[in-house]
Amino acid sequence: MTRLFISICRIFLISFMLCSCEEIPPVINPLPNEPLLDTTRQNILVEEFTGNRCVNCPAGSTELARLKETYGDQLIIVAIHAGSFARPYPESQNDFQTNSGDALLNYLGQPLGYPSAIINRKLFPDEFDLQLSRSLWPAFLMQEAQKLSRINIISDITYSPLSRNVQLAVEIQKQTTEDAENLRFSVMVVEDNITDYQLTPQGVDTMYNHRHNLRDMLTASTGNAIPSTWANGEILERSFQYTLPEAWQASEVSFIIIIHENGVQKDVWAVEEIDLPV
């Protein structure tokens, strides 16, 4: 019996020694601080879910700002104020909550915690849902940044400062033979750089700079339908009219055009951001 016990202990000892076997480690290559420019690659949409009363959300916004330095214009960010933390303070100048934002949160799914963001509306392997915590963003951004464009988006925008009317004309051209069934077309209106109240770990910051805020959508929150017969090379045209509310800074407004699926999968096929010419 004693011999047997000693033999067993030897097995454990050998197992322990095996643990000291060296493995070949992965290579760590820090990202450069200047944008990686490659126009053949697709843009990436990051929908950041946030709120005035979300104390950890400024950390998420800072992380995205840093990633924007790396990916440049390839990274298109929209901050959606929705959910339990999005209720404004009584002293807030703006209510960033929108019906479209609430609908998007319902459509795309609630996060388990904040800050959270959805990247290209894609369910990544091993993930439970579309919502991704902050520590996952760099990995999936890098993965999405390698993909080639499948749809070409050309937009033309005019703006009349007097009437505050916007005319947006969009042409989309399919550049793939993949089936277009269930594709949708969404247009978001975003206002950048708004100073207002925000809860931070240091307390309420009354002069916080809110970036990339979703203000409205020109389409249904789930997108407008695209014909399933849309063929490779075919160009579809869409146009929109919109009047900017007086309170918005026209110079900070941009429009985000998104082509995405609308089924069990909601993957973004193409996204483009166009600034308002003022």
């Binding site: 643990c19 992965p26 290559n29 992380e63 700002a65 009584p90 799914g109 919502q131 770990p201």
Partner: protein, 559 residues
């Protein structure tokens, strides 16, 4: 292929169940189903999730089937989730399929299991595969296990597989080996020891490693590290029993492993940002418990020191997902509504905790219970402290029983609920429980509790949700019926209490009505519930649950 194996098992079980009565086999099982009907109540925060907005209904169900014959044990479980809020309490999850199957065979002293396996090493510090349905934790190992009993008192087992992830499995490979023994010593063999050793290894899959490397690549040079594919965890444990005393000790060590520090500090362009950050640390846990039990007296003391002992199937998963191990909680498991409102979840990255519990029967009529627990982080910051004492009276010539007591808690909400700058919640909660038999099969039970919550000096109102009163009346008509009515009243609203459009805090009621009917092995329960947001813990694992408003219906059955 992944889908075919469970289907084959289903057909096999169906076939076997038909044959069961004729060839000496035995079939058994259990069924559990729960449905929720959601009624939107924006005031308490029961809103803005798909179930309240459009789905209105959710259902979760589990059917277990077990069949034993020819020395084989077959197990199968069908799981169904329709618009379920169990996986993520603020989202909707739908899927169904074979959630568990296993085949087990005993060949002399060798015990073989394939399929999904629930098991643990020691107290679970380095490995525990288990299921907790209320939080939809199902960490079964999908693989094989071989266990050999080489003497009546000594067993060795080895296992390998991947951890279950709903109806799929994570890609990382987990493997382990475990030796368990039992020895008697001393005169009349009054002393026993039950030693054990265990080693677990997790090999990170390429996708997880690539994702981890991509994040580390964004770190500054002083924050970056080179992660390991392989992480090893070792444990030694022993239970020493001498007469009325028993002493359990377990020590575990884990090699360097990447893990998320939710309070990590990163320097982003000169700005310090607090939040999720990967760190690469070796970890350890030391856990001990000493128990004494004799007629009329039971004493339990426990202590635990934890340092960097997050052990997950992949470092990216958070909350209660992908856990390979289980760190036992060190706070009292409270059962009353208000005394259980604040729970201390185990802190994997670092805590030092003590717990003491005494139950003393003064005589047949009087029983006294006292409990104390204290949890701090490794820097000495208080995380949780609880003092509780209760007395139970059962007068000799009377039928009624009364239990009365008081609880004092200090709860670090900032750490447990990730709410920066939240003050230490301080509560004092007196409670009373009165049981009065009305007849041989009828009984009335009354509960009264009041939770006084300290003031948050920054806003000059009560901390968190402020103070609460709770009352419950339960009528039992044995053996079939039970009916209860309760109300939790936010008597002095606090900082987090719901507000009206003018930001005035509201003193809301959260009523609940329960009706249950039990007949033989079947139980039906119907409830109307309004429930405030709070931390829900099951088996030491905790999660912040949002408010609930609506109806619940549950069926449980076994055969």
């Amino acid at each position: 292929m992944k889908r075919i194996i469970p289907l084959l098992i289903v057909f096999l079980c169906c076939y076997l169940s038909v044959k069961a009565q004729n060839n000496g086999g035995r079939i058994s099982g259990a069924f559990q189903a729960q449905t929720n009907f959601f009624i939107r109540d924006s005031l308490i925060g029961a809103a803005n999730i798909p179930q309240y907005d459009r789905q209105l209904f959710s259902a979760d169900a589990w059917l277990n089937l077990n069949y034993t014959n020819w020395g084989f044990d077959f197990s199968l479980r069908f799981d169904m989730f329709n618009n379920s809020n169990l996986l993520n309490p603020t989202a909707s999850y739908s899927d169904q399929g074979i959630g568990f199957w296993s085949v087990r065979k005993q060949i002399d002293d060798l015990d073989l299991t394939v399929g999904y396996i629930y098991d643990q090493i020691g107290s679970g510090l380095i490995f525990r595969a288990y299921e907790e349905r209320p939080l939809l934790i199902d960490n079964a190992l999908y693989g094989i296990r071989a266990q050999y009993t080489f003497s009546p008192d000594w067993t060795i087992k080895g296992f390998t597989g991947r951890q279950k992830q709903q109806f799929d499995a994570y890609q990382s490979i987990i493997k382990g080996i475990n030796l368990d023994g039992f020895l008697l010593a001393g005169e009349k063999q009054a002393i026993s020891i039950a030693p054990g050793l265990g080693i677990v290894n997790r090999t990170l899959d390429d996708n997880s490693m690539d994702a981890l490397v991509a994040v580390i690549n964004t770190y500054n040079a002083d924050e970056a590290f080179v992660p390991n594919y392989n992480t090893y965890a070792f444990t030694f444990y022993n239970t020493l029993s001498v007469g009325a005393f028993s002493w359990f000790l377990e020590a575990a060590y884990k090699t360097e492993d990447a893990m998320i520090d939710p309070f990590g500090v990163r320097n982003l362009d000169g700005q310090e940002v607090v939040g999720d950050r990967f760190i690469n640390k070796a970890g350890s846990v030391l856990y001990t418990s000493i128990n004494y039990a004799s007629k009329g007296l039971a004493i339990t003391t426990e202590a635990k020191r934890t340092e960097f002992f997050t052990f997950r199937t992949r470092p990216q998963v958070t909350f209660n997902r992908g856990m390979i191990n289980f760190l036992p909680p060190m706070a009292r498991v409270n059962t009353y509504r208000l005394t259980s409102r604040y729970n201390a979840a185990t802190q994997e990255l670092g805590e030092i905790a003590f717990l003491g519990d005494i139950i003393y029967n003064v005589n047949d009529q009087i029983k006294i219970n006292a409990n104390a627990s204290n949890i701090e982080n490794l820097d000495g910051v208080l995380l949780y402290r609880e003092l509780m004492t209760a007395i139970t009276l059962e007068p000799e010539k009377e039928d009624w029983t009364i239990t009365a007591g008081i609880q004092r808690q200090q709860y670090n909400q900032e750490v447990f609920e990730f709410k920066p700058n939240a003050p230490l919640v301080e509560t004092i909660t007196p409670f009373a429980d009165f049981l009065y038999p009305l007849s041989e099969n009828q009984a009335l039970r009354l509960e009264l509790q009041y939770m006084h919550v300290g003031e948050d000096p920054a806003v000059e109102v009560g901390q968190d949700y402020g103070s609460w009163a709770f009352a419950l009346a339960e009528f039992t008509l044995a053996p079939h019926w039970s009916f209860s009515l309760s109300d939790m009243y936010n008597v002095r609203p606090g900082k987090q209490s719901p507000t009206d459009e003018n930001d005035n805090r509201l003193d809301l009621h959260y009523p609940r009505v329960d009706l249950s009917y039990t007949r033989n092995a079947n139980r039906f329960a119907l409830s109307y519930v309004k429930q405030v947001e709070g931390v829900v813990c099951t088996g030491g694992i905790c999660r912040l649950e949002p408010a609930f408003s609506g109806w619940k219906f549950e069926i449980t059955s076994s055969f």
